[in-house]
């Protein structure tokens, strides 16, 4: 649950107050999650992150911004 709290803290820490997603947005639940890429990873040792590498885990993926 610690990770969940962190995720929530990250989300709430950014100042964005935006509309609750409407039904038109987001992907259909149950689909294969698209891969996630980034040019630089912080707090990560090793290779580039590939969601396939975490197929045995549950992943909380947070889209955020510093503003």
């Amino acid at each position: 649950m610690k990770s969940l709290l962190l995720a929530a803290a990250l989300g709430l820490g950014s100042l964005a107050v935006l509309a609750v997603p409407s039904q038109d947005e987001g992907l259909e639940l149950g689909v294969a999650a698209p891969n996630v890429t980034a040019t630089t990873w912080f707090n990560h040792l090793g290779t580039q992150i590939d969601l396939n590498a975490f197929k045995n885990q549950a992943v909380v993926l947070e889209f955020w911004a510093t503003w």
């Binding site: 649950m1 990770s3 969940l4 962190l6 995720a7 929530a8 990250l10 989300g11 709430l12 820490g13 950014s14 964005a16 935006l18 509309a19 609750v20 997603p21 409407s22 947005e25 987001g26 992907l27 259909e28 639940l29 149950g30 689909v31 294969a32 999650a33 698209p34 891969n35 996630v36 890429t37 980034a38 040019t39 630089t40 990873w41 912080f42 707090n43 990560h44 040792l45 090793g46 290779t47 580039q48 992150i49 969601l51 396939n52 590498a53 975490f54 197929k55 045995n56 885990q57 549950a58 992943v59 909380v60 993926l61 947070e62 889209f63 955020w64 911004a65 510093t66 503003w67």
Partner: protein, 246 residues
């Protein structure tokens, strides 16, 4: 596991990570929000074992129950970055080597898989499977070495030596171990990189020792650190982290 990604550049994101003392994996320069068609920031996606999208929306709507359900059937995150989950099909006795790989025992798996080729008792299926798995191990090692080289070039020798040291320890006197050791030694002997290394280690200590301090106090420590380690990347990071973000 938590991944937090932003489409902003690494400089901005890195400063924020340092300023807040974040410890989760954070990605910068990420275009992935588009692929998830998010409605706005912040937005969270919950992905279950097997890679299925289980939930998506504003993080305030994500409940413990949903996360707990996703965690059912999840295995613990590998503790070693040497470990990975093989994707090729496993035949007969090759399966036990896949288990070793998932535990990060790459040297043992590499030696055992190499031996399949000349094993008279091995079936053709096992030989083909062993060869495919060996290819995955080699590719993983190559990716780790590439990450280490990139880090050293990027003035992040701490990450580079951590990777090289782990490879050297794992492979010992085998060729992969020997080249990793010499690469780590070269970084430690280089006057510029070794100073960066000291600075990075000191910065890590600073980050953990100040993690619980109030923002203003942490900022003072960061400023002090930036002055002491002027000219190093860690010094620059401390300076950027001490500058309040808008």
């Amino acid at each position: 596991m938590v991944l937090a990604v932003s489409d902003e550049d690494a400089e901005k994101v890195g400063a924020y990570v340092d300023e807040m003392g974040l410890s989760v994996r954070v990605g910068a320069g990420s275009p992935s929000a588009n692929a998830y068609k998010i409605a706005g920031y912040p937005s969270t996606a919950l992905i279950g074992p097997g890679g299925k999208l289980l939930w998506q929306g504003h993080p305030s709507g994500l409940t413990n129950g949903e996360v707990e359900a996703a965690l059912k059937g999840a295995k613990p995150l590998p503790t070693s970055f040497l470990a990975f989950t093989p994707t090729s099909a496993l035949e007969g006795r090759v399966a036990s080597q896949a288990k070793a790989i998932e535990q990060g025992k790459l040297a043992r798996a590499h030696a055992a898989l190499s031996a399949f080729g000349s094993d008279a008792k091995a079936t053709d299926g096992e030989k083909a499977s062993a060869s495919a798995l060996l290819g995955e191990v080699d590719a993983h090692i190559a990716a780790l070495v590439a990450a280490a080289e990139r880090s050293a070039k990027n003035r992040d020798p701490q990450k580079a030596v951590t990777l090289y040291d782990a490879l050297a320890k794992e492979f010992g006197s085998a060729s992969q171990g020997v080249s990793a050791k010499s690469a780590a030694d070269a970084i430690r002997k280089d006057p510029v990189l070794s100073k960066e290394l000291d600075a990075a280690e000191a910065f890590e200590k600073l980050r953990s020792s100040t993690a619980k301090l109030a923002t203003a106090k942490r900022r003072d420590k960061l400023v002090e650190f930036a002055e002491k380690w002027k000219g190093t990347k860690a010094g620059e990071r401390a300076k950027a982290a001490a500058t309040p973000s808008k």
